[in-house]
Amino acid sequence: MTAAPSWKYDLVSDDRSGPIVEIALPSIPGFEKVARDAAAVVADQMGFSPDRIEDLKTAVAEACLNAAEHGNAGDATAEVRVVMRVAESSLSVSVNDQGRGILPRERPGPGFPDRQRGWGMFFIDRLMDRVIIARLPEGGNQVTMEIRLAPTSAQPSSWPSSSADGADDGSPEES
């Protein structure tokens, strides 16, 4: 049986190089903006367009909010950990919570009974190039989002690449 990865070594992209940025947040509304803005800086440095940076900001904020509100059940002392992995042509952002809560899976849409709630995962799905949701063996949820540089606008990263070990992921949910 394939061991599920710890949050530190999961990989979404085949690119296995580049710096890693890690942020630990309390599960308090408003702190998602720290991760959101940090992701914007990283993506800007990588050469993403302003539009894609805005998409990433929204997705990261929503993932952090879900982790805090649902995964960590609003426990302000529980941590939301955000890990950003820079690769040559993509940026992956993993958002991990520590709780027993389950992340919402429903996607609101036309005819959805309560259109006022639940749009977080909808935005993440629609705005990111790849999304993987996993339950961590030590407890907690992990949402990994990947955004890819468009082939025509791909630029060499201004950051040096470095090799990084990784583990195969288990059987996470991918969308």
């Binding site: 408003g30 805005e54 929204t58 904020a61 609101p108 259109r115 006022q116 709630r117 909808f122 935005f123």
Partner: protein, 121 residues
Amino acid sequence: MQNKFVVEHRAEGQIGYLDFPRDVTAQTREGAYQAYFALVRARVRVVGMNFEASEYLNSAGIGLIISLVEDAVQVGRRVYGYGLSAHYRKLFGMVGLSDQMVLVSDVDEMLLQVGGGAEAG
């Protein structure tokens, strides 16, 4: 300095304005509805949602906007939104808000569309 969760309101004839703050989130809900109910009492027929100061709208904030728009539209009010960035106009479109409200660039465009006539009082 504007309290970051307070939604200001004003009525000019039959047009009511909701001036949203920098952050539109779950914490904005109470203030938004207080402001909206004030416009209801003022019997406005058009609601203009001003997002010029809004830099951050999360999913709960967008859910709040859906709620307000549905409440207004249900009783026959027309709803406009202006001052949104291109990114948030895109998100509004994704959730179907642009089917229920008219998104324009600024208040001048809103007033042009309203007609400055009957609905302006």
